[in-house]
């Protein structure tokens, strides 16, 4: 609160600001933050007080020198180039982006997808190798192998491929066994067919219809025995 001194006679008063109050309002006056009425009071005081006026002028002079004096050394013309050169030595051309929680989740998804790719490739490989194929040249296997090599996943996929290859070999062995057995079975059937009869209609009937002819035709029940024949019949 600004205390004021009252001067003048009865009915006439004038409010004057003291030096102490001027010191309190000094900065606000310098920075133009006072109300118009306070500014007027300050002006009135300064006109009558050389000491306070000197203080205000000194503050203004300091501000003026600080603001306008440019008598400091300047940087040479190559400064900016040196900064950029130092920056390029310290950092790569494309600094990695700041990892946020969202980018961390995306990175984990990428890792999972990358880890799943060899597994998917192995499954595909297995299907290609084991699935019956009419192409004996092994082209699907060659294509799958080249795809794995192109993806740079050979190190990760090779153990899986080895296991798949073993399984493939087992499957091939089984196929061979079945084919041999099948061949033998087919030959046995053929020999049997030749020994019995050439395949004729009666042959087919003998093999497929005769065994079932008794079942296909309803037998006629035998006549009941006559009582006067004198033979005792066993009745069930």
């Amino acid at each position: 609160m600004v205390r004021r001194s009252r001067v003048g006679g009865p009915g006439v008063t004038a409010v004057l600001m003291t030096c102490r109050h001027v010191q309190q309002l000094h900065d606000a006056y310098i920075d133009g933050e006072l109300s118009p009425s306070l500014m007027a009071e300050m002006h009135a005081h300064l006109l009558q007080c050389p000491v306070c006026q000197q203080q205000v002028e000194l503050t203004r002079a300091c501000g003026s020198v600080i603001a306008r004096d440019d008598d400091e050394p300047t940087l040479d013309a190559g400064f900016a180039a040196r900064v950029v050169a130092a920056l390029q030595r310290k950092t790569p051309a494309t600094p990695p982006p700041l990892e946020t929680r969202r980018s961390r989740r995306q990175r984990l998804w990428r890792i999972a997808a990358g880890a799943g790719l060899p597994a998917a490739a192995a499954v595909l490989f297995f299907c290609v190798l084991i699935w019956p194929s009419s192409d004996p040249s092994g082209t699907p296997r060659i294509v799958a192998g080249k795809a794995v090599e192109a993806a740079g996943l050979a190190e990760m996929v090779n153990p899986t491929l080895s296991a798949v290859a073993d399984t493939r070999q087992a499957a091939e062995s089984l196929n061979r066994i079945l084919s041999i057995a099948g061949d033998d079975a087919a030959r046995n059937v053929e020999r049997t067919m030749q020994r019995v009869k050439p395949p004729t209609e009666s042959f087919w009937r003998f093999f497929f219809e005769e065994p079932f002819s008794g079942l296909l035709e309803m037998p006629t029940p035998p006549p009941p025995p006559t009582p006067d024949q004198g033979e005792e019949l066993i009745r069930f």
Binding site: G32, V51, L58, A61, I66, L87, P95
Partner: protein, 214 residues
């Protein structure tokens, strides 16, 4: 001041943002443009803080490098110069502490007060002798050098960069009220230190119009 302000005014906020984003992606030309725009003002501030030419250049280069290396975290709601000056101010404080001449508030209890009752002319009466003007300017800067680093930085940013107390607070990382207190205290100390220096030379020196806030 006008020339320095004009240099930065060539960069609009949109253009500055473009340069920053390009510099983030490693564009050397954009980084060069940002450095060239701010180097003079930054160097002037740093040199007035540390008063050593070699050290001032090192601090400026270090400030730019740190600013670019942390560019990914730059907040576009602030001006690039504010961020740059903040980094430079911290580096200045480190340099002054290493120098071991930062002792906090300076004791001016032995500074004599000016005489009372003597007619004191105004400052801006007539053009002064150039030697006298240079001497008084040197006296003012010497008094500024004797301020504490926060007071000195406040005065420099207030008068030379035309920042308000809020903006100064962002650079110095302190509340605006604290900045205002530093400014008030700095002005008081400058008057105390320069009271006797100026008592003989008011009529012979013209400093022109006062700086910020008039």
């Amino acid at each position: 001041m006008d020339s320095r302000a004009a240099t930065e005014e060539r960069l609009t906020p949109l253009r500055e943002r473009q340069l920053i984003e390009q510099a983030r992606r490693g564009c050397g030309r954009s980084a060069h443009a940002l450095v060239a725009t701010h180097q003079d003002r930054l160097h002037a501030f740093v040199w007035r803080m540390v008063r050593d030419r070699h050290e001032a250049e090192e601090i400026c280069q270090d400030a730019f490098l740190r600013a670019f290396q942390a560019m990914d975290s730059f907040d576009f709601s602030y001006r690039f110069s504010t961020w740059l000056f903040t980094i430079a101010y911290r580096l200045c404080l480190n340099a002054l502490r290493r120098r071991r001449d930062y002792s906090g508030d300076v004791d001016f209890s032995d500074v004599p007060a000016g005489p009372r009752g003597r007619k004191t002319p105004t400052v801006a009466d007539e053009v002064a002798n150039s030697d006298e003007a240079r001497r008084l300017k040197a006296a003012i800067w010497e008094a500024v050098d004797r301020l504490t680093p926060p007071q000195r930085a406040t005065v420099l940013l207030f008068y030379r960069e035309s920042l308000n107390c809020q903006e100064i607070g962002e650079v110095l990382e302190m509340p605006a009220a604290t900045v205002k207190s530093h400014l008030h205290r700095a002005r008081s100390r400058l008057r105390e230190m320069l009271g006797t220096e100026m008592q003989e030379d008011w009529t012979s020196v013209r400093f022109g119009e006062a700086g910020n806030g008039q």
